[in-house]
Amino acid sequence: MAISSATKAATDALSVNRAPVSVGAQEVHKWMQSFTWDFDKNRTKYSTKYKMANDTKEQFKLIAKEYARMESVKDERQFGSLQDVLTRVDAANRVHPKWNESMKVISNFLEVGEYNAIAATGMLWDSASAPEQKNGYLGQVMDEIRHTNQCGYINYYFAKQGQDAAGHNDARRTRAIGPLWKGMKRVFSDGFISGDAVECSINLQLVGEACFTNPLIVAVTEWASANGDEMTPTVFLSIETDELRHMANGYQTIVSIANDEAASKYLNTDLNNAFWTQQKYFTPVLGMMFEYGSHFKVEPWVKTWNRWVYEDWGGIWIGRLGKYGVESPASLRDAKKDAYWAHHDLFLLAYALWPTGFFRVTLPTAEEAEWYEANYPGWYDMYGKVYEEWRSRGCEDPNSGFLPLQWFAENNHPIYIDRVSQVPFCPSYCKGASTLRVLEFNGKKHSFSDPWGERMWLSEPERYECQNIFEQYEGRELSEVIAEGHGVRSDGFTLISQPHTNKDGKLWTLDDIKKIGCVFADPLKAL
């Protein structure tokens, strides 16, 4: 039978160069390197001020098909454990109630970070010109999509199987009133996706992931386990196995710009600003979530911070990048000072502002107070005494008519919000390094708590126009604001947040808050 000319041509070609019956991953990767897509006009919204080299390598050398196979196995193990074993043993109800509340914050907030990281690594894909480097970023885009789902799933699981669904579900509806939300958006959103793509990479990969992933995603599994939470390690360790790829991507981002003239002009400034931006929020918030959101303690936060942020990242990781001209951030020294007391200062304010949150907070028990004093000498005189006073005035009881916020007003300790980081601070009652700086520009006052943030604002004022809750709700009564900001449970009047986790304790309602007559005031107006 006659064959067509096309079939003959194909047969002839195969006789010269047989198609392989199997292909190794390395062969495929080698083949992929020869891709010559046209990247000349490829760019992200703001073309980066750095020029990324077009021969940059990528360490993982993982093709998309292998990636998908590997991740699907990880997903099967993770979801299998959660849906089968852990549900059967009622694991979500074995979690210590205090830790249950911490996971409302940690997983909901990390979900925002992962979501923005999808866009951040997409921007890097657009910016890079080396096929291998693009491949590394592609892997990360897919990771971040997976992680966003995983973080959402943790809260879904706790809400469905656990002990207090409010706050695990639909936490975002409180985003306008919760004082932790805006700072979180600053680090996890603005820092990751606004402006120069390489600067975003420094925020996300070089600082967020290489520096704070260990204290966040690894440490959280230890604290979770210690407090009876089997779900979080199951999910977060699965996330962590991908984070190595992200750290490697951050490293390669720096390698790709190392020979560019722009690196000597901008790189260390971008790194210092990124480090300060990220640490200003993560240092106090993570320490607070671990130590005050748990009953069983793993180790003092300051030790975790010193080991992973100061020594491992600031010393070893940045040290390895020294040959490319990268220096340890100048602000690292100031951050180290903050790592000792900043989270204690923040919890004092977080407890005082509890009605505006989406999670329940608990005062330290006597046993916990001993742990704090042993690990942070001087803790009792500064904080322990205040918590005792608040407890004796009935701060947990809705019939007491007492909100800790009143204590700050009675004692003339105004609470300010840092314009750049959006983190609340009380300069007249703190042990951390916060100092009050108030500047007026074009008729408007701005408060800052440190010189690094002040410089960022002086350099780019239009970047930090976000209003804080005191400006936004000045003159408004607290219960009205909570109702308007959706801070109530499904019955329409019980607050999502509560000042205790005692299952027999009374729950505060909008009426309880209204009776107190607490009205928002902007402290900057008094200056």
Partner: protein, 165 residues
């Protein structure tokens, strides 16, 4: 009950916006509103809470007026003042290219956004111009970032120090 989402200030502005009936008066209304109530250089602080919401509503109205009045060619090529959008953009880019001072560059960029943010300028022209201006501004801002001590930087920025602890 008046609240942050639904209040008399917004109602009052919605009435004013409803009165806009041509691209010409929509353009004048929107650019004047932005210059007065938005950006770090605004001159009126009375709409701190509602300004961006109101701006959004004016933009919606101007976009609809533009849709009704403009031909397809005008829609892609002209600003709402009638000028050729690319010429306006080129002028802003040329000004930025010639600029070596970060404060002047910042003003060029802010003024461009106040004057041209869509629907004033077609999105296809605006976005690319905004990128070019922003890229140059970022370079100028990051050069010699720590050259001035904070005291000097405050003076150059023109801020008044209220408290320094």
């Amino acid at each position: 009950m008046a609240n942050i989402h639904d209040n008399p200030t917004r109602d009052e502005w919605m009435k004013k916006i409803a009165g806009l009936n041509s691209v010409a008066n929509g353009h004048a209304f929107l650019t004047a509103f932005r210059a007065k109530h938005l950006s770090p250089f605004k001159t009126d602080f009375s709409l701190e809470l509602d300004g961006q919401w109101i701006e959004c509503k004016i933009e919606e109205k101007v976009a609809l007026l533009k849709h009704a009045e403009f031909s397809d060619t005008q829609f892609l090529n002209n600003c709402t003042c009638g000028q050729d959008a690319q010429k306006v953009a080129n002028a802003a880019v040329a000004k930025m290219d010639a600029c070596t001072n970060m404060y002047e560059a910042e003003r060029i960029h802010v003024d461009f956004r106040l004057a041209c943010k869509p629907p004033i300028m077609p999105v296809n022209v605006f976005m690319d111009t905004d990128r070019l201006l922003g890229t140059k501004l970022m370079e100028l801002r990051n050069t010699d970032y720590y050259a001035l001590p904070l005291e000097e930087l405050r003076k150059v920025r023109g801020v008044k120090v209220i408290t320094l602890q």
